[in-house]
Amino acid sequence: MSQTLLRTPLHDRHVELGARMVPFAGWEMPVQYEGVIQEHRAVRTDAGVFDVSHMGEIEVEGPQANALLQSLLSNDLDRLEPGDAQYTLLTNERGGIIDDLIAYRLDACRYFLVVNASNRETDFRWLKEHEVRGSEVTDVSSEYALLAVQGPRAIERLGFPAAKAFTFAEDEIDGVEVMVNRTGYTGEDGCELLCMAEDAGTLWDAVLARGVVPCGLGARDTLRLEACLPLHGNDIGPETDPIAAALGWTCKLEKEFTGVEIIRRVKEEGPARKLVAFVMEDRAIPRQGMAIEGGGEVTSGTHSPTFDVGIGMGYVPAAQASPGTELAIDVRGKTRAARVVKRPIYKRED
C-alpha cells in the first residue's frame, strides 16, 4: 500500500543542501548530504546536526501521571527531579519491548516522552488505553521539531553552559526558545534541541551558522552502532526481553510494571540468548538478518568509519556471548570470522 510520506518542517532546507532523501518510518528523511563517512567524522571530531523531527513527543500530565507511567515504564521515574531525563522502556505483558524512549520530568504532574518515529502511534495507543482518571495522555508530535546537535564541540559551538548528561533546561538561540536536552544517540557529548515546529527553520539556520555540519540518517546509524546503542526494530522489539538485550539496568525489578514478573524470571534463570557487539576479523560487512553459526543472528551491521572495519550487534546463545568468543557469520554464502567485543565498540574520551 503506498502512502504519502510525511515531511518535517526542514524538508525544503534538506533538499536545498543537496541531501539524498529516503523513506524512513513513513517520513521522507535525509540519509546523507555530502557523504556518510564525512558526516560521521564531523560528529566524532567536532559537531554535526541531525533533523530528528520525525520522532514522536507524547505529554502525560495530571495528578496520576506519575502512577500511570510508573506502571508502564521499566525505569524508576521517582529518581528524577524536575529537569532530569531518563532512558526507559515501554514493555508489554510478555516482558517484550514496545519501545525505548526518553522520559523528561517537567514537574511532579507533567512528563514528556520522546519516542521512536516508527512506534509513535503504537506507543500513544498503548498509553491512551491504560490512561487512568487523573492522567491525560496527548500526542503533541506535530507541534514540535527536534534537532540533535552532537559532537565534542557541539555545546561550545552553541554557546550553552556545561550541564550533566540526562538533564534539560530552557535556553534560547537567535531568539528561538528551545529546550536543551543533554541526550543523544551517537556516543558523543551534545544535546537535542526541542523547539516549536514553526521555529525549526530559524533554529536550523542558527545551528549551521555556528559551523555545525548537517548529517543524515546514514551517519546516525553508524554512530549509534559504534556506540552500541540499540535500534528498536533491529536490535530490540516486542519479542525481545530487556535482559537478553543487556538493558537490565533500565528495569527496576523491585517495582511493578507491565511484564515485570517475566523479566524477573529471565533475570533469575539467565537469558537463553544475549545481544552482543562484535567486530569482523575477516574483511566483510555484516548486515541485519545474517546468520551467526550456532543459532545466532545479526540484528545490526555496518562498516565502522572510525575503525575502518565491519562491526555489528546480534543475538547469540548465552555460551557464545563472552568477549573474545570467535563467531562465524554467513555473509551471502561465505563464512566470515568475527569476534565478540566488550560494549561499546566506541567510547569517547572524557
Binding site: 557523504g35 556518510v36 553508524t222 560487512i285 548486515r287 562498516h303
Partner: protein
C-alpha cells in the same frame, strides 16, 4: 574527494552501469561514475578469484557502501587475469577515479564478439537520461 560526473568516449558500457576498456583480447572492467555516486563511498570490494570465469550479464563480485551492497555485473565473458588490489585495500578509490585507478578487474575475453552488444558513450548517456 569524489570525482565529478564523466563518461569517457573510449569506453564500452553496459546498462547496469559497468564499463569495459578493450585492449586487444583483454578487457579492463569497472563501474561508472553514476553507479559509484548512487552507491555512495565504497567501503568494501569483494573480488572474484584470479583464474575464475566471469560471464556476461552475471555477477562477478560485490561492491558495498556503508548503506548498501551492489552486485558487480560483467559486461563481457572471460577469465579473470588480475584483480585491482588497490581497490581491495582502499575501495574509496572507485569514487575518486572510477575510470582510472578505480578499475576493478582485468579479463581475457572468451568471446570478443560480445563487445558489439555493448553501448557506446552516447547510448549509455541515453540510458541515464531515461532513468
Amino acid at each position: 574527494m569524489a570525482a565529478v560526473e564523466s563518461y569517457p568516449d573510449d569506453l564500452k558500457y553496459h546498462e547496469e552501469h559497468d564499463w569495459a576498456r578493450i585492449e586487444g583480447d583483454e578487457a579492463v572492467l569497472g563501474i561508472t561514475w553514476f553507479a559509484a555516486d548512487a552507491l555512495g563511498e565504497l567501503v568494501h570490494f569483494e573480488p572474484p578469484e584470479v583464474g575464475a570465469t566471469v560471464k556476461k550479464d552475471a555477477s562477478y563480485g560485490e561492491a558495498e557502501s556503508v548503506k548498501a551492497v551492489s552486485d558487480l555485473i560483467a559486461p563481457l565473458s572471460g577469465e579473470v587475469l588480475e584483480v585491482n588490489q588497490k581497490i581491495v585495500d582502499a575501495p574509496e578509490t572507485v569514487n575518486e577515479d572510477p575510470y582510472g585507478d578505480g578499475w576493478l578487474i582485468r579479463i581475457r575475453m572468451s568471446d570478443p564478439a560480445e563487445t558489439d552488444a555493448l553501448l557506446d558513450v552516447g547510448a549509455y548517456k541515453q540510458v541515464l537520461a531515461e532513468l
